[in-house]
Symmetry: C2
Subunit: 417 residues, 2 copies
């Protein structure tokens, strides 16, 4: 017997037929003797419709009212799934965030979960009842509904799994796991059986849009094992008994991964713009002078590269922003010319960031050198490089994106034969 | 300065344009210096969609889950109206039933309001904030959303008006008031400036579908003056200042109606079926033997006519049921033949009940005689008659419905010139 939280996204509950399919997945786990709580998103498209209505009502709307409107989508699917489960003979009830309660902070529209009273849910486990929980929401200190921001149902699921001490949090989605790279670019990409939280964080934030980044962070902090799997697999064809290994990718602590590969995957992020400030005065406070105003303008700066200047007086500063923010970033930087003190502002919108990720590179030398040589062999020019303990990110021209991903995937031996 | 509860139905909040129109009505009252709480229904069609989803999920569904699903419609419109009001510079916030709270009993799907904590709403009045309240719902003793049954938003509005001691509960709808009869049948029908609760109850339950019957009962019990008016009138063309008399019909205590007419209106209910049991044993308990089984089968019996029998041994019993229940009623009565003991069961599905309503008839003789003579003059045969203190109901063949309504409307002088 295991205690499992199952999370289903919007495409998995898009209509009554799919909700019935979800109910079959849940019933299978119950029939196998497990204790189950389910977290659901709104029907796909529903949240967008509700968000658009709030915008149509007023472009500058009260986030608390936005939350009241938008949270209704999950309320509907939680009730419908509970009804469907009951019709299959499975004891079930729906729970809204305010009923459990899932307490959040007051940041309406992008709230963070502060605490969850798991005791009421555990009581229901004991009597074999399935808790069907509206994802993406909780209740703020003002006694009003607070939503967690887009994709927040993943975070709800992991937080609930932590609060009830679940053995696993199954994230059912429209893909059957996490791959070594995007299979649309590299057909030889392979599904990973396991990946560490740290690696998944890099994969998620670098463009592999399987999971919300915050949910992985939360899984890591609370040690919640997450299992990414497909909701479109035939529910009857899956063995859920103790010890069976269904198709999917387990996200877990690295010590649970026996044979750790040096490189786990190749991620990429398109639509990056590069900005270079030439001959910036190399003095204390100049970074703050550049990035302070950008942050104030809510522009998300990603890679930052600063070279040591030759004579200690002038340096070049390169960084990336999303393409969509390039015009605004340029405007902000031009306004800040006096306080920063640069000579030339150059920018280029057609960039892609390719990243090599692997926890094993901490203990293996030469991983970066392999990547650089690989790209050089294909004639791909490297614009900028940033590295962390477990990843190497390389900025290149967008037109080389697919070639770079495929070449790196091959050079680290990630592909299927 | 008055304290006003404004209620808007589904057609009044059907889309963002109409919600904006509603907001203008609200702003007008605020600008005139009044304290305002608003009660909204779901967008028209939305509740049906949600109800159908619960049926599709399972025909035999848990009423608690039905409530969670269906209540979401009002949650959406309450938030959207609050946002729209804010965009017009009106301080507003949405309230769900569980936030106020509006406490109900546990009869999910058809719950009754037990108490409302009006204090929080009154606090908001003091600071000039508009409370936008999701109608049709409250919270049950099980801490779960409970809906009040179809049309329950009228009842929500009146209950809230009672809890905050409102001067008036304005019911905005798609007609501009209560008429002396259905204007589609009698173009000379006139809008009533005032009607008593008792008369409105008869009008509402007899087929004038302007208001939910329960809301009028509640208005009567708590002395909440209700004002039926149109949401489609141009909000800017209405004078809301103290003492102004906008277009609509006030439902109030009879002592507020100075010039009471003898007859206030003519109502009708189509699709009635007549059932007659001939030569029933005239003994104690026979009525129970007839109507007990019908009640057990959830068949709503309306008019009941029993004549005193000639010799004290046998009598005829006539009553009406909705056409749609006739087959079931017949079946129930045939099964109960032995316990009732009748000789012949006759039925006729093509009936209409026409009613003459007026509080003044309590103190005026001859009102009934006028109706009977009027119908006789037109050659309309009367099948059955029932009377109460303030109404006379007459069962006739359906083909004479319009003629009867128009003739009675004229004979009591209700029409415009």
């Amino acid at each position: 017997m295991a205690r499992i939280v199952m999370k289903f996204g919007g495409t998995s509950v898009a209509d009554l037929d799919r909700i019935r399919n979800v109910a079959k997945h849940v019933k299978r786990e119950i029939d196998a003797g497990h204790q189950v709580a389910v977290v659901v998103s709104a029907m796909s498209g529903k949240t967008n419709e509700l968000v658009n209505w709030t915008k149509e009502a007023s472009p500058m709307h009260d986030a608390r009212e936005y939350d009241a409107v938008v949270a209704s989508g999950e309320q509907v699917t939680s009730g419908l799934l509970a009804i469907t489960l009951q019709s299959m003979g499975v004891d079930a009830r729906s729970w809204q965030g305010w009923q459990i309660p899932i307490e959040t902070d007051n940041a309406h529209g992008a709230a963070r979960i502060k605490s969850i009273n798991g005791a009421a849910l555990v009581e229901r486990f004991e009597i074999g009842q399935v808790a069907v929980i509206a994802g993406f929401q909780g209740i703020g200190p003002d006694n009003r509904i607070a939503t967690l921001g887009r994709g927040g149902s993943d975070t709800s699921a992991v937080a609930i799994a932590a609060s009830v001490g679940a053995d696993r949090c199954d994230i059912y989605t429209d893909v059957d796991g996490v791959y070594t790279t995007d299979p649309r670019i590299e057909p030889k990409a392979q599904r990973l059986a396991k990946i560490s939280f740290e690696e998944m964080l890099e994969m998620a934030s670098l463009g592999a849009k399987v999971l919300q980044v915050r949910s992985v962070e939360m899984g890591m902090v609370h040690g919640v094992r997450m299992f990414v799997r497909s909701s479109f697999t035939d529910p009857d064809a899956i063995d859920s008994s103790e010890g069976a290994v269904p198709e999917g990718t387990l996200i877990c602590n690295e010590d649970e991964i026996v044979e750790q590969q040096v490189v786990t995957g190749i991620a990429y992020a398109k639509d990056e713009a590069q900005i270079s400030l030439r001959r910036v005065s190399d003095k204390p406070g100049v970074s703050a002078a550049i990035f302070g105003p950008l942050s104030d303008a809510n522009i998300n700066v990603d890679m930052i590269v600063q070279n040591v200047s030759e004579d200690g007086s002038k340096t070049d500063m390169t960084f990336t922003v999303p393409n969509t923010d390039l015009d605004r970033a340029t405007e902000v930087l031009e306004k800040s010319l006096d306080s920063i003190g640069y000579e030339i502002l150059q920018s280029d919108p057609g960039m892609v960031k390719v990243s090599v990720i692997g926890i094993g590179m901490r203990s293996h030398a030469g991983v970066a050198a392999t990547a650089f040589k690989c790209l050089a062999d294909k004639g791909i020019n490297i614009r900028a490089i940033t590295t962390s303990e477990i990843k190497i990110s390389i900025l290149i021209d967008e037109e080389y994106a697919e070639l770079a991903v495929r070449s790196l995937h091959a050079v680290y031996g990630l592909g299927a034969d």
